[in-house]
Amino acid sequence: MQVKSWLCATACLLAAALSPAMAADAPTEIKIGALYAGSGQMAAASTPLHVALEYWADGLNRNGGVFVKGFGKKIPIKLVSYDDQSSPALAANLTNQLITVDKVDILLADSTSVMTASAVPVARDHKMLLWDITGSSPNFFSADNPYIVLLALAATDRYPKSIAEFVDQMPKLGIKNVAILYNTADYTAFQAIAVRKAVLANPNLKLVFDRGVPANTTDYTLLVNNVQAAQPDALLEFGYPANEIAFLRALQDNGSKFKFLFTGYGLTEMSLMQTNGVADQLMNTYALAAAASYPRKPEVGLDLEHLREAFEKWVEDHHQTGVEFGFNALAGYQAGLVIENALAEANSLDQLELRRAVFTLSGKLVTLDGPFILAPDGSQSGEILPLGQIMPGKNGAKDYSINIVWPPELATAKPLYPAP
């Protein structure tokens, strides 16, 4: 009896001794450092992404915070954010500040490859894992750098897989001459490289126009005329939202039309195109069917309609102006989901342990963006988007639909060529 009591008392003491130890080790908050562009050229992409992160963090904090496996409990999140004003140099300084002064537990990059580029070496030097949201340039990833993972977008050399594969189908449609027009920033230039390679590899296709334009190009009238002068059967255009709006405006103003037109951002920020009155130009054209336009069934997180509704309500309640629900908002939410699920697998907040935790999600996590699959170098190989043709509804672009035309296993219709 005495022995039993002694054992019980010892067990209780041990449990009591261990529990406070775990609680004592647990931080009072998880600090997540983030940069965003509140002004400048990247602001249109960066702002909705950051607002979505705030929405995600707010939702978790209302329920006690994020669960961290290593501490066995939920811990509130503190989002530490700085405005880098679209300046890569300032982003590098602020990334350093987040690591050394704010001592954040999780370090997020600003959106786009342009802004992520300056954070990659800083994070690596400090042996801090960079949670790269949409910086998809393959240049950021290498086997000898374990301090980066890409969350919300396939690496740019893999991102255009569907359109690059579809290029081989073009001769069957009667397409012979192809034109490529692209923004020279990493994100779009790498897509153009992948597609150009596919065109040049096909003996039945001829590249009749191949031009890059600076990232800040917002007038495409002359370029569109030059493309038309080359008489292509198909034009493949890659740009950021500002480029895309200007490109579509040029088509509208010129009354220009192409028999086959692919746009890189056409479906990625469709609501932005609608707001700007250029969505009609996208009817019967092709684009990668991004999650904001092509609902997928997520296994983790909200589905598209519930997310859109919740996000827009949150934006309204928090008086955030001019924030569109599109690809970038989804990317911010996706980043939050990956962090949340990784922390649920992490035994500590050690940076390499966090990397291990993120990698446990690879191949298992399926969100609105599709399956989350990491390559060994931390780049994203999942989240590949199918190629869709945007079909007008009864009211034109207001109630458009998408015909998936590639890959064959997802195809819902055959491509309509030439475009009516």
């Binding site: 600076p214 990232a215 509208q252 932005l272």
Partner: protein
């Protein structure tokens, strides 16, 4: 393609002249560099967005309202900032810092109020369809913008060379101390010039969505760079030299876009460096000093 590039270059050049002329007028009269000039263009674009899409007003009314409203806004801005600035030892240098600060405040304020989303205005609101020229097409909006630029330039010419206020303005541009000595009210004339410069910037802003495709609160700084290039080619301090600067810039830009599109955004910097090295006073530099 060459003829088309030249034709569109001339049309764009006329618009660029409108973009730069306000900055040049302000520098010519006050010897200060208004780095918030691009932000007044941006504000003009926002005003036009609201007047066109929100109120459905016709283009001539939008142009008149924007010019008038921003002329009036320019007057208190002048009296609040410029006289104090000109009492400093080096007003030119200090103006760079002061107006850069003002530029940042305007951009941040607009971003907070309206967000950073891209905005555009459908060209159909200006009427007309694509114009066929040299076997290709040019948007009607470009001709409209170029036409308004010509009218505004002519207005600046008439003001400077055919009115009493204009003669006083040129007197200050030529020799400020002598203008004071003969009884010209320098502050009054300068305030009017600042108001006109601000109004011209806003008028350029009305057409920015049509010429530049879309706009955000951050278009100010790139437009400042463009204005600088245009102004320096023509000659800093000579408002009418801006027309020549605009044309050269417009044609060069379109040629670059046609033949070396990847490097088109290098143009403002290349032109600035080239002109400063070869003819620092600008192509019409002599006339500034002896206006």
């Amino acid at each position: 393609m060459l003829a088309y590039a030249l034709a569109t270059g001339v049309i764009f050049g006329l618009y660029f002249a409108l973009v730069g002329v306000g900055m040049n007028l302000v520098f010519g009269v006050m010897r200060i560099v208004n780095l918030a000039h691009g932000d007044f263009i941006m504000l003009g674009a926002f005003a036009a967005f609201w007047l066109f899409r929100g109120m459905g007003l016709p283009a001539p009314v939008v142009v008149a309202l924007c010019f008038g409203a921003f002329f009036l806004i320019g007057l208190p801005v002048y009296y609040a900032l410029v006289p104090r600035l000109q009492r400093a030892a080096e007003p030119e240098m200090l103006s760079l810092i002061l107006f850069f600060g003002l530029s940042q405040v305007i951009e941040a304020g607009v971003a907070m109020l309206f967000g950073n989303t891209e905005r555009s205005i459908p060209s159909r609101l200006l009427g007309g369809g694509p114009v066929h020229l040299l076997g290709q097409t040019i948007p009607y909006a470009w001709f409209y913008a170029a036409g308004v630029s010509v009218v505004m330039m002519f207005g600046v010419y008439v003001y400077l060379y055919r009115t009493q206020l204009g003669r006083q303005t040129r007197a200050i541009m030529a020799q400020k101390q002598e203008a004071v000595a003969i009884g010209i009210d320098v502050h009054k004339i300068s305030a009017i010039a600042f108001g006109i410069g601000t109004g011209l910037a806003a008028t350029a802003g009305v057409f920015a969505p049509f010429m530049l495709g879309s706009f955000t609160p951050s278009i100010g700084v790139p437009l400042d760079l463009t204005s600088f290039a245009v102004v320096i080619i023509g000659s800093l301090g000579n408002p009418l030299g801006t027309v020549l600067g605009g044309m050269i810039f417009g044609v060069s830009l379109m040629l670059m876009r046609t033949y070396f599109s990847s490097f088109a955004d290098l143009l403002p910097n290349l032109v600035l460096i080239g002109v400063l090295l070869i003819r620092p006073s600008g192509l019409l530099g002599k006339r500034v000093r002896h206006a």
